[in-house]
């Protein structure tokens, strides 16, 4: 078996720089805020190094941008990397906090050799503007060691790998402190010299645990790695060094996240109809926006337009420190239909969904309604309004069975203030509603008012006269 290990030396830094145009020197400090953990190239040019005290760093660069490392966020980021790597390799294992294993011996045939795999991964890293040290070895631990020291090579030759491992100094092996000290006292300085020791002696004189570590590196002891499964949700986060005050400023990172979402959806062959956008503020509750499309959708452009509309409607309450875009609902993609081979006829189905989504995003979902008749004798109950759906198969109501009714119904009966000039038909008695407490007992007439309009008027039990509709 061959294992590829990706070591991300400054993942958080890459992530932040990816989501914001370069703004100057940037460092990541540890949780307590005392030491520099990661420094960007601009900062390194100014003389800042990892492990330096923050005060010293600030002395070197007074307008330094500082971000605090957050273990939870690092875990998220690592998952993100696993997600794209999963496009290329099936068996992936996470190595928190900053590495990923991928089993590659089974992929050689697919990609046509180890160099091709190496190249593919390197290219993917460049596309994502990520820094990673890559190494290949025959055991997971060996791959990790080589990657950490940056000595990874594209080779499947076991002897070559063992030589490279053997040349590693003991300090780089990551053994526990006590064991390394004892080994050094024994006069051993490289890993190769430790490999040469007899196993039984190593376990007896040092510790069985150390022997296990060494054997795992050598490959004489089993080191199973459970495969990672991609989550069934999409979640991406962008952090801003400088708070964003206008919604326009969010678009840069949204574009990138949406492009990744589109890629992810294409790769899964899925669509979605709901995006959740969470904007975090420094001192306030986060703003949660729900962006809905009317139909299944996967294109980044469409999502971006809808989000823009939503943000236009709802200005930012406070400056944004970070944003999270999450998708939890996925639907399987339907076979594209309606479009001809040459793409000359417009896909009306798609255009319909686009238009309705746009309107709903700006006006609110309640603003759009569809009407349907309902089985009830009372005029105000004989219709219903529902949310907009894509029209299905046309059905026809037997029109002869429906009574004659006006095309306009008033929102509520309005008192009749003018004496009608002509009476046309009536009375039609409508009495009902005793079953649900909204009793209606009316005599309906069609009458022409002095203005020339035809009205549907009724007289109720108390002898009051009302207009209920217009024959428009």
């Amino acid at each position: 078996m061959l294992w590829l290990y990706l070591h991300f030396p400054h993942l958080l830094l890459d992530h932040i720089r990816r989501h914001q145009p370069p703004t100057g020197a940037l460092v990541i400090v540890d949780g307590a805020g005392h030491f520099v953990v990661q420094a960007c190239p601009t900062a390194r040019d100014l003389g800042i190094e990892t492990g330096m005290r923050l005060k010293t760093a600030l002395g070197l660069a007074p307008d330094l941008n500082i971000m605090r490392a957050d273990p939870k966020q690092e875990a998220w980021l690592l998952e993100d990397q696993a997600r794209w790597l999963y496009h290329y390799a099936a068996h992936i294992t996470l190595a928190p906090p900053d590495g990923i294993w991928a089993e590659v011996s089974s992929l050689q045939k697919l990609y046509g050799g180890l160099p091709a795999i190496w190249q593919t991964v390197e290219q993917a890293l460049t596309e994502r503007q990520l820094t990673a040290w890559v190494a290949i070895a025959h055991t997971p631990s060996a791959a990790r060691l080589l990657a950490h020291t940056g000595k990874g090579e594209c080779t499947a030759d076991k002897g070559h790998i063992l030589t490279a491992l053997g040349n590693l100094p003991l300090l780089a092996t990551g053994f526990d402190k006590k064991s390394s000290t004892r080994l050094q006292r024994l006069g051993l300085n490289t890993l190769g010299e430790v490999f040469a020791l007899p196993a039984a002696e190593l376990a007896r004189r040092l510790s069985p645990e150390l022997l296990a570590v060494v054997q795992k590196i050598q490959g004489t002891r089993a080191d199973p790695k459970a495969p990672w499964q991609p989550p069934h949700t999409f979640r991406q986060r962008a952090d801003f060094i400088q708070e964003v005050e206008h919604s326009q400023g969010l678009l840069f990172s949204l574009q990138r996240i949406l492009a990744e979402l589109e890629e992810d959806l294409c790769w899964r062959q899925q669509d979605t109809d709901t995006l959740l956008l969470m904007l975090q503020h420094r001192h306030e509750e986060p703003t949660r926006l729900r962006i809905r499309t009317t139909g299944p959708e996967h294109r980044a452009q469409v999502f971006l337009k809808l989000i823009q509309l939503k943000l236009d409607q709802q200005p930012l309450r406070a400056p944004v420190t970070s944003l999270v875009l999450a998708v939890k609902r996925f639907t399987g993609r339907e076979a594209p239909g309606g479009q001809d081979l040459l793409g000359e006829t417009q896909d009306l189905n798609e255009a319909w969904h686009t238009l309705i989504s746009r309107l709903q995003a700006r006006l609110g979902e309640q603003a759009l309604k569809q009407l349907a008749p309902r089985e009830d004798h009372r005029p105000e109950c004989a219709w219903s309004a529902s949310d907009v759906r894509k029209p299905g198969k046309p059905y026809r109501i037997a029109s002869g069975q429906l009574p004659h009714r006006p095309l306009w119904l008033l929102k509520g009966p309005r008192p009749l203030l003018q004496t009608p000039v002509v009476w046309h038909s009536g009375p039609e008695r409508i009495s009902g509603g005793w079953w649900d407490g909204q009793r209606v007992h009316r005599d309906y007439y069609i009458a022409q008012l002095p203005g020339g309009e035809l009205a549907w008027v009724f007289r109720d039990v108390q002898d009051g006269w009302f207009i209920h509709g217009w024959f428009g």
Partner: protein, 229 residues
């Protein structure tokens, strides 16, 4: 003098009535032969605004566009109703053979939303017909809508108040609707493309309330003692 006249005639800014060109714009028949004849055999223009100017609802204005609604909804195109003054009554529409699945009602909060929505509806290829009740409209807004309408090639009917008869409007067709004595609808053509305005006709729309003349005498005259209160 004739020299002066001929130089004037050469000027493109002088409009010459006898040279009116036949419009080649596409149109939808109104479904009323009398009105179609008055409109030069065309009907509702596509890709342009039409305006109906009326005082009150209930004079047959929906029946004027009903043949078009029926046809468009059966073609499977969407019909948008923007800010209708009352509720379009679903049972009555269903009775007239309108496919309700293709009707979308939109209510907007303010004038900006209204114009934005109308423009979007007009530009979309899924739209077949837009019926809109805009309230007051500024001249430049109508101009903007007219451009959107040209881009989309849909029929758009704006229902506006008769007070705006004298207002200048870029709409391609303007009809003034006045209720007649016998439940009919008098249509005055205020403006149309490609010909002189001023034609008028009357459409019998009594059937909208199922009225035939002989029936009216059989109506039970309501106990109209409390009238006028």
């Amino acid at each position: 003098m004739s020299e002066l006249l001929s130089s004037l005639l050469q000027d493109a800014r002088v409009w010459q009535g006898h040279k009116h060109r036949k419009t080649n714009q596409s149109a939808e028949p109104t479904g009323y032969q009398v009105l179609d004849n008055q409109l030069g055999g065309l009907g509702w223009p596509r890709g342009a605004l039409s305006e109906c100017l009326l005082d009150t609802c209930g004079i047959g204005e929906l029946h004027l566009v009903l043949p078009l609604i029926q046809r468009v909804s059966q073609e499977g195109k969407t019909i948008f109703w923007l800010n209708p003054p009352h509720t379009p009554y679903a049972p009555a529409l269903a009775r007239e053979g309108v496919s309700l699945d293709h009707l979308v009602m939109i209510n907007t909060r303010d004038q900006n939303d209204f114009l934005w929505t109308l423009e979007n509806c007009l530009r979309s290829p899924v739209t077949g017909l837009v019926l809109a009740w805009p309230g007051r409209l500024a001249g430049r807004d109508i101009r903007r809508l007219q451009l959107a309408s040209e881009a989309g090639g849909n029929v758009c009917v704006l229902f506006r108040s008769r007070r705006e008869v004298d207002q200048n409007s870029p709409a391609a067709l303007r009809l003034e609707l006045i209720p007649g004595e016998h439940q009919d609808l008098k249509v005055n053509i205020i403006k149309r493309r490609g010909s002189w305005p001023g034609q008028r006709c009357s459409l019998a729309l009594g059937q909208r309330a199922d009225i035939t003349n002989k029936e009216s005498s059989q109506v039970v005259q309501g106990p109209w003692s409390g009238a006028g209160r």
